[in-house]
């Protein structure tokens, strides 16, 4: 198949797409409509997804996952807002030494959101009625009593793990808030220096990743 035959087939499909697009959309202004038709004839592969999109009002595909609106989420949003402002002030100022750390900061934010999600998972788990009730005393055998005792111990450990994760996360957030104030301080006084700030950020990022890996295990 040479170029001429390819061009003919390309043009035929293009004409089809252009006509379909013309019939499909009559709401936009006239000049824009004709621009669409003309460009659809030439660049139909780009318009094809427009014609093939679902017409039902289903949930948009690339909308971010809903963000939980609990106290933890509010605290994370607060810290992220403060961090964003601090970084913006760096962008606007002369000190650009922290700019290479932006990817790491994104990673840090992603990690603490993930940790918050784990804590919520544990909360949901521990809130289940099966995890809250215990067998009535006196009606069990010795083996059943031992199992119940182990079960209670496991539940206590789960609660301890949840508490520890919560404290870790809050500690991290508090640490980041302190870093934010240091960024502002560094901007006006030059202390701590940019290299010290970078070292602190790097330590925070790598430390959080480590904690995240451990909790995954």
């Amino acid at each position: 198949m040479n170029l001429s035959i390819t061009a003919i087939f390309y043009g035929l499909v293009g004409a089809g797409v252009a006509v379909a697009l013309f019939l499909n959309d009559s709401t936009c202004p006239r000049h824009e409509r004709w621009f669409r038709v003309l460009t659809a004839f030439l660049f139909w592969p780009l318009y094809l997804p427009l014609l093939l999109r679902p017409t039902s009002s289903s949930a948009p595909a690339t909308q971010p996952l809903p963000v939980p609106s609990d106290e933890l989420a509010a605290q994370i949003a607060q810290v992220e807002s403060e961090l964003g402002l601090a970084l913006q002030s760096l962008d606007a100022g002369t000190d650009t030494a922290l700019k290479p750390e932006h990817d790491g900061i994104e990673q840090l934010q992603s990690t603490w959101r993930m940790q918050a999600e784990r804590i919520r998972e544990l909360d949901r788990l521990l809130a289940q009625p099966a995890f809250m009730e215990s067998l009535p005393a006196g009606s069990e055998t010795e083996r059943a009593a031992q199992s119940e005792q182990s079960r209670q111990q496991n539940l206590t450990r789960l609660q301890a793990i949840r508490q520890q994760m919560h404290q870790n996360l809050l500690g991290t957030l508090a640490g980041v808030r302190e870093l934010v104030t240091r960024i502002h301080l560094a901007k006006y006084t030059g202390k701590p220096t940019a290299s010290e700030l970078i070292a602190q950020f790097t330590a925070a990022i790598s430390g959080l990743s480590e904690v995240s890996a451990l909790t995954t295990e």
Binding site: L3, C28, E32, F35, R36, T39, L42, F43, W44, P45, L46, P49, L50, L52, R53, P60, A61, T62, Q63, P64, L65, A74, Q75, Q78, S81, E82, G84, L85, Q88, Q107, S110, R113, M114, E117, A160, I161, Q164, M165, Q167, N168, L170, G171, T172, L173, A174, G175, R177, E178, L179, R182, A203, A204, G207, E210, V211, S212, L214, T215, T216, E217
Partner: protein
């Protein structure tokens, strides 16, 4: 295992730079009162742009790329934005074609293209040779300038269409929830960004071109400058690639948090490899079209 993990976690928290008072605030991190600057900055970020015309979109590309990234994810706006990004791209590439033709005709040269088949068979030594041209207006009247412009404008955008399914596939491979229309709009936004960057650097290139003509630069410098002009859309394309890269990275917020970190890195690498794939496809497409049209 859990105890061990907790001990390590505790050690990490202890290592974090904290003041003594922040330690006591672990259980109840207070929410600060929002100051005015924070509110205004956030409001600025969340403010929805109202002018979505071609010029409004150019302004968004230049001034508020983050807002544009959020905007193009709105399914209701995608059918409106797609042809407008295409219009920006076409206008930019047509500007380039005209400017390139001006530089070439003012220098009294015009590129002669050899067939890729001949080059592969060894019957032709070079693909592009810059032949001297008699008059200033010759190549405007015989349609050569139009062919150059058409080859670049069509080739650069059609190559996006050719590579579109692979970008969609890469997105799915990384686990991002996106439709083919999302991918098309993302790709065209990247193309529009390239076109805007191209228009931005065109005056600099035009100045270089005029300098060559006025100061009668030696032959190697002239040839180098002509080649620079021919690859200028690919240099400007780096802005588009960067825009696509960052825009796709943001799509990771559609992923569950526990998978986000690993998938984000994978997705970024896939987008970078798609850009490399596009960079290989588009010159071949432009050259083939230009050579066919010039016959």
């Amino acid at each position: 295992m859990a105890t061990d993990s907790l001990t390590k976690a505790e050690m990490f928290v202890a290592q974090l730079p904290q003041s003594p008072t922040s330690r006591s605030a672990l259980d109840d991190l207070p929410l600060l009162e929002r100051d005015n600057s924070a509110t205004s900055a956030e409001a600025d970020l969340n403010e929805r742009p109202t002018n979505l015309g071609v010029l409004g979109l150019v302004e968004l590309i230049l001034k508020r790329p983050d807002a544009l990234d959020r905007l193009i994810r709105d399914p209701a706006l995608q059918p409106i934005l797609l042809p407008r990004f295409l219009a920006i791209s076409l206008i930019g590439f047509v500007f380039f074609g005209v400017a390139m033709s001006l530089v070439l005709t003012s220098s009294h040269v015009w590129p002669e293209l050899a067939s890729i088949t001949h080059k592969l068979r060894g019957t032709s030594s070079t693909l592009v040779t810059f032949q001297s041209s008699p008059g200033l207006a010759t190549h405007w009247w015989d349609g050569s300038a139009l062919k150059l412009t058409a080859a670049y404008a069509f080739g650069l955008i059609a190559a996006t269409g050719v590579c579109l399914p692979s970008l969609y596939f890469y997105g799915l491979l990384a686990g991002v929830r996106m439709s083919l229309l999302d991918v098309a709009v993302q790709a065209l936004k990247s193309k529009a960004t390239s076109a805007v960057a191209l228009v931005g650097i065109l005056p600099i290139y035009a100045a270089v071109g005029m300098g060559i003509v006025i100061f009668e630069a030696p032959e190697p410098i002239r040839i180098g400058a002509f080649w620079l002009g021919l690859i200028l859309p690919f240099i400007a394309g780096l802005w588009g690639t960067s825009a696509l890269y960052h825009s796709f990275a943001k799509l990771c917020d559609t992923l569950p948090p526990e998978r986000r970190l690993n998938r984000a890195c994978f997705l970024r690498r896939l987008v970078a490899s798609w850009a490399a794939c596009y960079t290989a496809v588009s010159p071949v497409m432009i050259y083939t079209l230009w050579e066919r049209l010039a016959r």
